[in-house]
């Protein structure tokens, strides 16, 4: 099959996000306003919001999390854009990535010249149990959940299959979480933007304040092995192997390629987009790879005419530490079974040859599920335009990629961006 092509070029000219975290005083529409205002301010030559012709919003389940359905027109209303068409897009934790893709397709079709894409989720209004049950709706509730599975449990299945096939141990997983906290400590938008050592010091100070015995961890990895500080959730995954429950919103502005330079001298062109679907985890030929991620990546690479080596900045869907390792293989950065060795060798850190998740990833930055796919785009926007501050990748990266997964890979979407 010949590679897919967009009907015409599309560019990203603005991007903004709310802080990710737990915000008891704000609902999703209010977080969306934060993201919208930052996006508006990011458009170098100014934005007249009245020129926005349509809105696509990624949102997994505000029904379950907030008791609010029909969210796209509300978000659009709260930023003063009614009556433009407002459409909600749902693909579980890939909802944001799908909203971006719908915006791309809408402009590529020639129907619109300017589209706003966003993502929202407000999850912390529920207890952890409530959030776990709500997220479970993204799995197969007929045939997976009755087995006792949770999302940590299903990704733990991927981890045990991977460990069995390739000889990895849970030690490597801890290194992924450690690394993403190192990265996220440099991201002011991150929910848990602290190094593991900062978290340890805070725990010690808290114990001392309460007159409790002060823990004596020798180093970060002793902390990460402590069953009290870092409890088992679904073996081999511990708490620090899991992304958090989060609130947040993120927004991007897309325009047709011919209009791009009216808004900025540094537009990012969408050179590749791919999406694929799959059956439940138990029905797949492999448990150590997400076939839909491989398919989406291949489609996006073929459209872009680039190879994995050309990608200089990458945000992958690390909902769990094992997911980051599998993602780096599915995207072709490392051969199957070698992603964990790359972690061991430090290749995926800032100083490594293939830095992954400079934002801190979902683990440290936070995972408001419908917003996460657009949150990844915000990081690529900054990395490719040289505005990532203290976490700026060296070498003036010109091509970036986002990898966004719904469920355990029933939906995958990959988008590739280029600064020319």
């Amino acid at each position: 099959m010949t590679s897919q092509k967009l009907g015409r070029g599309v560019a990203l000219v603005g991007a903004g996000m709310s802080k990710f975290g737990a915000f008891p005083g704000k609902n999703s529409r209010e977080l969306f306003v934060d993201a919208f205002l930052e996006m508006s301010a990011s458009v170098d030559k100014g934005l007249d919001p009245a020129a926005i012709e349509a809105v696509y919003i990624g949102n997994f389940s505000s029904e379950l999390f907030e008791g609010q359905g029909h969210t796209a027109p509300i978000m659009t209303d709260w930023v003063g854009l009614n009556p433009v068409p407002a459409t909600r897009v749902e693909g579980a934790c890939a909802s944001g990535g799908l909203a971006l893709r719908q915006g791309i397709l809408a402009i590529a079709s020639g129907l619109y010249d300017m589209v706003m894409v966003g993502g929202i989720e407000k999850m912390t209004g529920l207890s952890t149990d409530g959030a776990t049950d709500s997220l479970a709706a993204a799995a197969d509730v007929s045939y997976e959940i009755p087995a006792g599975f949770t999302f940590p449990g299903m990704y733990a299945v991927i981890a045990t299959a991977y460990m069995h096939e390739y000889g990895m141990t849970p030690e490597t997983l801890l290194q992924v979480g450690y690394k993403n906290h190192e990265h996220g400590a440099l991201n002011p938008k991150a929910q848990f933007g602290q190094r593991i050592s900062d978290i340890m010091e805070a725990r010690k100070a808290s114990a001392a304040r309460k007159g409790k015995p002060v823990p004596t961890w020798a180093d970060e990895f002793e902390f990460l092995h402590d069953n009290t500080a870092n409890p088992q959730i679904a073996w081999p995954l511990r708490l620090f192997d899991c992304s958090p429950v989060s609130d947040g919103a993120a927004v991007g502005l897309l325009v047709s390629e011919e209009l791009a330079r009216q808004f900025t001298d540094n537009p990012l062109y969408i050179i590749g987009t791919g999406q694929a679907s799959d059956t439940a985890l138990h029905g797949r030929p492999t448990l150590t790879s997400l076939p839909a991620a491989r398919k989406a990546a291949q489609t996006a690479y073929d459209m872009a005419g680039v190879t994995p080596d050309d990608i200089k900045a990458v945000e992958v869907h690390d909902c769990f530490t094992i997911a980051e390792i599998v993602a780096t293989e599915d995207l072709g950065f490392f051969k199957a079974g070698e992603g964990w060795k790359a972690v061991e060798d430090g290749l995926t850190t800032f100083g490594g040859s293939r830095p992954v998740n400079s934002s801190g990833g979902l683990k440290s930055k936070g995972h408001p599920v419908g917003a996460s796919g657009i949150g990844q785009v915000i990081e690529i926007f900054h990395q490719l335009r040289g505005s990532a501050g203290s976490r700026q990748l060296p070498g003036s990266p010109n091509i970036g990629l986002t990898h966004n997964v719904g469920g355990t890979g029933q939906t995958c979407v990959v988008n590739i961006f280029e600064r020319r």
Binding site: G148, L281, H282
Partner: protein, 137 residues
């Protein structure tokens, strides 16, 4: 089983009778679990019920300390964890199920490939009685 209509409802009704029933495509022979109304391979709707032997092996697993609310309500939790896994059945398909009889104190000792047999797990009483799919060592 002549009225088996390949739905989730029919599947769980058979679980209640302690039988694990999927489907076989009469056109291409593909065996499916869960049962399918339409063949994933040839898209035929000419299906027949297929009863599994209940023999298989462990493909992958997790020891779950924090489960969904319904498992908590059955008494599971951090002090009473359980194993969920994917079982590759002798007849081909794989399915998600609870796994019984594993050493949860030493999860690293649990071996992928361990032979398993089906175990129908009854929970609840009277009206709320439900049968869940499990496998045991």
């Amino acid at each position: 089983m002549s009225d088996f209509d390949f739905t989730f409802h029919a599947y769980t009704a058979q679980l209640d009778e302690k039988r694990l029933i999927g489907s076989r495509c009469k056109q291409c022979g593909l065996i499916s679990l869960p049962p399918r109304l339409l063949c994933q391979h040839c898209r035929s709707t000419d299906m027949e019920p297929f009863e599994f032997s209940g023999k298989g092996k462990l493909a992958a697993f997790s020891v779950i300390y924090f489960g969904p609310t319904f498992m908590k309500n059955y008494g599971y939790g951090p002090k009473n964890p359980y194993v969920s896994g994917i079982v590759e059945l002798e007849e081909g398909p794989s399915i998600s199920a609870q796994i019984l009889g594993m050493d949860m104190e030493h999860p690293e000792s649990i071996q992928i490939g361990t032979p398993l047999t089906v175990e129908f797990i009854e929970r609840g009483e009277n009206e709320s009685k439900k049968v869940f799919l499990g496998f045991k060592v």
